[in-house]
Amino acid sequence: MAKTLKKIILSSTDNLLEVREFVSAAARDFGFSEEETSKIALAVDEACTNIIKHSYKNQPDKTIQVVILRQPNKFEISIVDEGRKFDPEAIKPLNLKEHLSHYRRGGLGVYLMRTLMDKVEYHTISGKKNEVRLTKFLQPVRSSARR
């Protein structure tokens, strides 16, 4: 079984469905439940949407590289773009209650990614590429027969 899967898409929201389907198929194949698969696909959607809107400022002809790295019990998705330099330090932890009380619509994607995944990391590659790396661990299934 190949351990790495790769997809390159253009930075248009038109391609979000394709990315979700790509990631969902790999997550299911890896052994995640439908519920966990949905969470992973949503987190990847949020990451790609942020890149399209903020890193590429809605320019539809740029590229986003999505690489899935599969290790035993560890499912990682690396999403790389070459848009505006991203400063993860600028992201403040979201106070959801306070945020909602002001009817703010932005910033929810990052909160969702952090809630849905086990780990969310940001890196700069060669000083010019942005990488967001999403990790989900596959929990061993517990036998219901054990007492």
Binding site: L16, L17, L108
Partner: protein
């Protein structure tokens, strides 16, 4: 391939938006257009029937956030109904049940609007 459709119909003192398919950053503008039309027509009692909504991301949720303040300022509301557990989970993760009334079916939401009209 799944697609997104938004359709609206008017009842007696309320409007119903029906959503079908996936609501993400690509399809959210279609829902925005529908809200803009309803608000432009001064229709502020809005039920959103999510029975056939299969997916929602924060871009879709953001549309509800964008209009709720205006709607409530005009003594209306956006009430959500018929959500699948998968869609409800996303609303729940973002704390939306605090902000929005969510009902099991459309009739319950409609009854709420009718009751508030009588008061």
């Amino acid at each position: 391939m799944s697609e997104f459709k938004v359709h609206h119909r008017d009842g007696d003192g309320f409007s119903v938006i029906e959503l079908k398919g996936y609501l993400d950053a690509h399809t959210a503008p279609d829902l925005e257009t529908t809200f803009q039309e309803l608000l432009g027509d001064r229709k502020f009692n809005i039920v959103v029937n999510c029975r056939d909504l299969t997916y929602i991301s924060s871009a879709g949720l953001g549309v509800f956030m964008a209009y709720i303040e205006d709607v409530r300022k005009n003594k209306g509301d956006i009430k959500l109904t018929n959500m699948s557990p998968k869609v409800y989970n996303v609303f729940d993760l973002l704390g939306f049940p605090i902000l929005y009334e969510i009902y099991k079916d459309e009739q319950e939401a409609v009854n709420k609007f009718k009751q508030s009209k009588k008061v």
